[in-house]
Subunit: 262 residues, 2 copies
């Protein structure tokens, strides 16, 4: 398994679901099956609120990561990230996901990739706190959206078009795979590498890549449940993950990618 | 002990210190010695980054609160809050402390009090996500500061004067006791009730109000350490806490209130 730079994990569901199985495998890449030792973070939306856990330690050494594995949090939208520092020192303020408020909602963002010569013009309002290219790109994206739509939350279609537009511009500086959520939608941009799977009835069992653990989703779900999991590298080895086409921005809602009307 | 509305706990130090002793007593007020059962939160600055833990459960039932007690986090600036809902439903997005970014730094805010007829003009930029008077006041304060100083972090004196000015205006709507920190300074505004203590060498022992626990700070400190603890109600019963004068805004740095040059 090739593992480069950071890794992303996202989940979008139609009923609040815990991410323990996926996070268990994913977190082993933070120092055990992968060398993403430079911090991690995971954000769970709960209504309009967010539980955000960050640590500059590797997941396999972090007591917070251990706590998350042992105390399932149910959420409709989750974004997690394990870091291998490229730009920006190892520090809490450089751990993804990042959080900002826009239009009276929290926005959560995590990035995989490495942007070169990315020096956006002076910020209009959103400033980076740390020194990563990722946080700078997130702030630039929010500035772009806020500048474009003003203080009112726009309809989904023009919002998605605008996110796609700014993502393409930023992608010209390097790989810009990201997960972005406001608690309602999960925007997933693939620049080089990102895959997803939608699990729904009839549920089967799944086996992790990173450790010999199998779960039978049929035992822990109802027939109405639908869960999309998005990751840099597939987390299971007995299911078919769909690679997102480079350059594509998918919008997930209620546990599946949605098609936007023109 | 009279316990009304929410309660605040803050810590400002000259060396990274854990807040376990104070948080242990404080958190018992979240459902045991007090009836602040409607959620809690605690934020630890680590450099420019923040570890923010929020839960809509009472502290005494929260696995996150338990985790924090068992896994000491060392920080120069900590803000904690236990909630008794007055305005705004019981929900994660209504738990204090709140976080926003301004001037490339995170700002953390928690409030004790109840504002009546507080309807600031439309926000310039910072919007509340939940429906508490507290978050609205925080956003209004940031808008006021950003509008006043633009995109540049001002010197401490004019910044403090501006915080005092907007705090006085908001206080006309009701009790507005708050703790505000950007990781460097801790701004403490007393509108009706807030006390502090500065612990430094020679350290003695301290005994909690809320449970029969004593700690000998002489055993866990060096002679250079200095720690200020700020709380709605004194946390110990064998030390002399200094009430902050209503209407006063104290600025703590390096473990003590500082005097600003004119």
């Amino acid at each position: 398994m090739s593992i480069i730079m950071c890794q992303l994990l996202g989940m979008n569901c139609n009923v609040p679901t815990d991410i323990c199985f996926s996070f268990d495998g994913f977190s082993r890449r933070g120092g055990q099956t992968g060398d993403h030792r430079d911090g991690f973070g995971i954000a769970f939306f709960e209504g309009r609120g967010v539980k955000l856990f960050l640590d500059s330690k590797p997941t396999i050494e972090s007591s917070i990561a251990q706590h998350i594995k042992e105390n399932p949090i149910h959420s409709l939208n989750v974004i997690a990230h394990i870091r291998k520092a490229t730009k920006g020192k190892i520090a809490l303020e450089n751990c993804h996901p990042f959080i900002r408020e826009m239009w009276g909602r929290y926005w959560i963002f995590a990035h995989n990739g490495n942007l070169e010569s990315f020096e956006p013009t002076l910020p209009l309002h959103y400033h980076a706190v740390g020194d990563t290219d990722s946080e700078l790109a997130f702030c630039h994206m929010l500035d772009y959206l806020y500048d474009r739509f003003g203080s009112h939350y726009p309809p989904l279609r023009p919002l998605t078009d605008a996110i796609k537009e700014i993502s393409q511009k930023i992608s010209s500086h390097g790989p810009f795979n990201f997960l972005l959520s406001n608690g309602e939608f999960m925007f997933c941009h693939c620049s080089t590498k990102l895959s997803y799977i939608v699990r729904q009835a009839p549920f089967t069992h799944a086996h992790l890549v990173d450790e010999d653990v199998t779960v039978d989703f049929g035992l822990v779900t109802t027939t109405k449940d639908r869960v999309a999991v998005i990751a840099t590298e597939p987390l299971t080895d007995n299911e078919i993950w769909t690679p997102i086409v480079p350059g594509e921005l998918l919008v997930f809602n209620q546990g599946q990618p949605i098609t936007l009307d023109n």
